[in-house]
């Protein structure tokens, strides 16, 4: 079965430190990969995506993500966390041929001052 896993329900990091939010997937073919962020009482906002090419993708608000085909992972990263980055982060994977979207269960990021 197709699935997206975010193994950490919560990630805690101090402001100014680097952060990583993990995502692995089991989706056939060479899917497209996305990260979204959700602030309280808001809809999801697009952060970045991997379609093809360079394995390191840069996105909004200083976030980047690293695609690893052999490990079927797409981890979200930021070199220096801000308190305002505290939110819920979702990894999403889309099949190229069948157009289906699969979301992970989300990771709550807490950045402490």
């Amino acid at each position: 079965a197709q699935s997206v896993a975010q193994p950490e329900d919560q990630v805690n990091v101090a402001e100014g430190n680097p952060l990583t939010v993990k995502c692995t997937y089991s989706v056939s073919g060479n899917p497209y990969l996305f990260w979204y962020v959700q602030y309280p009482n808001r809809g999801l906002q697009f952060l970045l995506k991997y379609i093809t090419g360079d394995n390191l993708v840069k996105g909004s608000y200083g976030f980047e993500a690293e695609f690893n085909k052999s490990q079927t992972s797409f981890h979200l990263k930021k070199p220096s966390a801000l308190v305002s980055d505290s939110a819920l982060y979702f990894c999403a994977v889309r099949e190229r041929n069948f157009n289906k979207f699969y979301f992970g269960s989300g990771t709550k990021l807490n950045v402490k001052p």
Binding site: V4, Y36, R42, G43, L44, F46, K49, F90, F103
Partner: protein, 114 residues
């Protein structure tokens, strides 16, 4: 550019009642999605439209949920009759046609069934 609009933002109903949600996608977006997000979980796709045709409704509980997208623009999602387990946030999203395009989400409608 205006975003995805949804209404109402909040709705409280009793079980066995009916409810309808409305969504207006970003202008020009051919693809429209309805998701159900239960607290603590990721969004679950209920139905996907391409223009006014249904692409995927495999996870839509068709005995109580229905959706339509008239003229390929606005969409409504209806629940009749509602159950307690339908309490969730219902998200509408739209995107340009094509799998490479990201989705843009509306603010959601928080439904509470009592």
């Amino acid at each position: 550019e205006a975003g995805v609009a949804q209404s109402p933002r909040y709705k409280i109903i009793e079980k066995r009642q009916s409810v309808a949600f409305w969504c207006n996608p970003i202008s020009g977006h051919a693809t429209l999605y309805w998701y159900q997000q239960i607290l603590g979980q990721g969004p679950k796709l209920l139905i996907q439209f391409q223009n006014n045709g249904v692409v995927d409704d495999s996870q839509l509980p068709k005995d109580r949920f229905s959706a339509e997208r008239l003229k390929g623009v606005d969409s409504t999602l209806k629940i009749q009759p509602a159950k307690l387990e339908d309490s969730a946030v219902y998200l509408c999203a739209s995107s340009s046609e094509g799998a490479i395009y990201e989705q843009y989400f509306g603010p959601g409608t928080r439904l509470t069934v009592t």
